[in-house]
């Protein structure tokens, strides 16, 4: 038991200092791999410094939130000229998420993600907490009109920032008992949850943390990367 605790402590200390966890290969140089797209994503955050304030989160959580979406900024910059969403949006609005679940906007948020966040926000936060947060509970139901309003919100960057803020707050509630081996482990956990879905529970998220599914092509190429590692790359550089 003592040895295990010591190993965990060493692992936590090592991870917190930015060392690679045992069994993981050194992280690639994502700045070099994604090149101009990486720089574009950094520039976007620099030109939209208001996002940090709009998140209304403690500084450490705002830093985490930006890192969580940073890989999506890279991807959006790579595909924005080629994506066409009308058909997908129409299918989602008319027939629901089973007929159209797609990524929207700078933070590449899916309607199903927004639905989950809206539902958890209503379920996990008291009216008093929501009043303090300053975002009212979302309308409930699954009508075409409600789905269209959700899509319109996702098209608006200011609303994407609000959803990102709510995601961090919801994660704090849902996984308040989860133990993290330092801030970087927490960042990787949150980033994976954002990218692969957060509702499946801690074990499911941790199982996905080392998957290499991230890419910037419209369709999956041979070379893919680990989403959480790309997020971590920005997290470290933006300290």
């Amino acid at each position: 038991m003592a040895a295990a605790a010591l190993a965990a402590a060493c692992l936590a200390a090592g991870t917190a200092r930015g060392f690679q966890a045992p069994g993981r290969t050194p992280a690639p140089d994502y700045r070099a791999i994604f090149g101009a797209r990486y720089a574009d994503a950094e520039r976007f955050l620099g030109e939209h410094a208001w996002i940090v304030g709009a998140l209304e989160l403690p500084a450490a959580d705002a830093h985490l939130a930006l890192a969580v979406v940073f890989p999506e900024l890279i991807r959006f910059g790579a595909i924005q000229d080629e994506i066409q969403m009308r058909g997908l949006k129409v299918l989602y609005v008319l027939y629901g998420r089973n007929h159209g679940n797609f990524s929207v906007g700078r933070f590449q948020m899916k309607p199903s993600f927004a639905e989950q966040v809206e539902s958890d926000y209503a379920r996990l936060f008291t009216p008093r907490e929501r009043a303090a947060i300053g975002i009212a509970a979302f309308e409930r139901g699954d009508t075409a009109a409600l789905r269209e309003r959700r899509v319109r919100r996702l098209e608006d960057l200011a609303w994407q920032v609000r959803y990102l803020r709510l995601f961090v707050l919801v994660m704090g509630k849902r996984y308040r008992l989860a133990s993290f081996a330092g801030p970087e482990d927490r960042l990787r956990f949150y980033a994976t949850a954002y990218n692969a879905g957060y509702a499946g529970g801690e074990a499911a998220i941790r199982r996905k943390m080392d998957r290499r599914l991230f890419h910037t092509a419209l369709f999956q190429p041979a070379e893919t990367y680990n989403y959480a590692d790309v997020a971590l790359s920005y997290y470290r550089s933006a300290r």
Binding site: E72, I79, D81, E82, I83, Q84, M85, R86, G87, L88, K89, V90, L91, Y92, V93, L94, Y95, H99, G100, N101, F102, S103, Q108, M109, K110, F113, A144, A145, E148, V151, R152, E155, Y194, N195, A196, G197, L213, L218, F219, Q220
Partner: protein
């Protein structure tokens, strides 16, 4: 966010020369053609990319079945083709070589880059020049814009006492405040600048000399936005100005303020909830259509199923819409054409 593109595989779209649309719709007339009734297990899914053939047609793909039994079909030229056993095989059939990948025709005009060689040059005493026209010299040059045909250039700049929007054909307007983004009309002859506040450079530099009350008032005024066109029209100031744009189908200036859409300063009635990206006015502004995600609405009150893909073109002064929609609970594929 999770990427399930591997299973998204119906490249939907509208064949612009859909064979079934045999009669050309005239203004106000609508042609409606049922292209196909989808099979019970055939799903109208669309991926994030729309494919158009080299001659401008768009193509619809559907997916039928699951797992190893999945099959793909292509709706092209008004006919159903297939089955294809893989997405790539269907896409290769659906999209001609050199096909463009891109979106439906956007309602908002987005100017392309100027032709190669069309550029500003340095002028005397720090001024800049375009095709023999000199701009300035000014204290600050905020923006330089050249129209896609390379014919006209626009510059925003400021001196100590006032700011400017100038064009290379000799038009010039001045104002106080900080010039922001410049929008240019599809024909390149109109331009508008969105200006924040009302302070000149001098006034901003000497703000500390004002009384606290005047500073507060000046900063409040600085939140307001005003539009100045190159032809001298002024709209605003606005406490809230949500969007400013030129529609692809019109050279009139549109903006949204206070929950209303305006055309050259006049309210467009009935289009309050429209997003600029969905709003298609005629050139004269007398009619419009809003392509939402629930329905396609025309200013004459007619409503249709929302277009999965939409093609809009100008033809002899009319605006022609062609679109593909799903009806009967998503099982009937219908092609429409309507003039406006």
């Amino acid at each position: 966010m999770p990427k399930a593109r591997a299973i998204l595989v119906v490249l939907a779209v509208l064949a612009l020369s859909i064979a079934g649309v045999s009669c050309r719709a005239t203004a106000q007339e609508v042609s409606r053609t049922v292209l196909s009734t989808l099979a019970a297990d055939e799903e109208p899914e669309v991926p994030e990319v729309e494919c158009r053939t080299a001659d401008g047609d768009t193509v619809l793909m559907t997916k039928q079945g699951k797992g190893p039994n999945v099959r793909f079909f292509v709706y092209k030229g008004g006919k159903r083709h297939g089955p294809f056993t893989s997405y790539n095989e269907a896409k290769a059939f659906g999209c001609d070589a050199g096909a463009n990948v891109g979106g439906s025709d956007n309602a908002v005009y987005e100017p392309g880059p100027p032709p190669e060689g069309a550029q500003f040059t340095g002028g005397a005493a720090g001024a800049i020049a375009f095709k023999g026209t000199t701009f300035g010299p000014h204290q600050i040059v905020f923006s330089q814009t050249i129209t896609p045909d390379g014919a006209i250039a626009y510059v925003t700049a400021a001196d100590n006492d006032k700011a400017w929007l100038e064009s290379s054909d000799g038009r010039k307007v001045s104002f106080r405040g900080t010039p922001g983004e410049v929008k240019v009309s599809p024909d390149g002859k109109s331009a508008v600048v969105q200006v924040e506040g009302r302070m000149s450079l001098d006034e901003m530099n000497n703000l500390s000399k004002l009384t606290p009350e005047k500073i507060t008032k000046a900063l409040e005024d600085n939140q307001k936005k005003t539009l100045f066109t190159i032809d001298g029209q002024v709209y605003g100031p606005f406490d809230e100005l949500d969007n400013v744009w030129f529609a692809r189908t019109s050279n009139a200036l549109y903006y949204r303020a206070g929950g209303q859409i305006y055309r050259n300063g006049e309210v467009v009635k009935g289009a309050e909830s429209a997003s600029p990206n969905d709003f298609y006015p005629t050139a004269d502004g007398k009619a419009w259509a809003v392509a939402g995600y629930e329905k396609l609405t025309f200013s004459d009150g007619k409503e249709y199923a929302a277009p999965l893909a939409l093609a809009v073109r100008l033809e002899k002064g009319r605006t022609i819409f062609r679109w593909l929609a799903l009806e009967k609970g998503g099982k009937e594929l219908v092609a429409y054409e309507r003039g406006m």
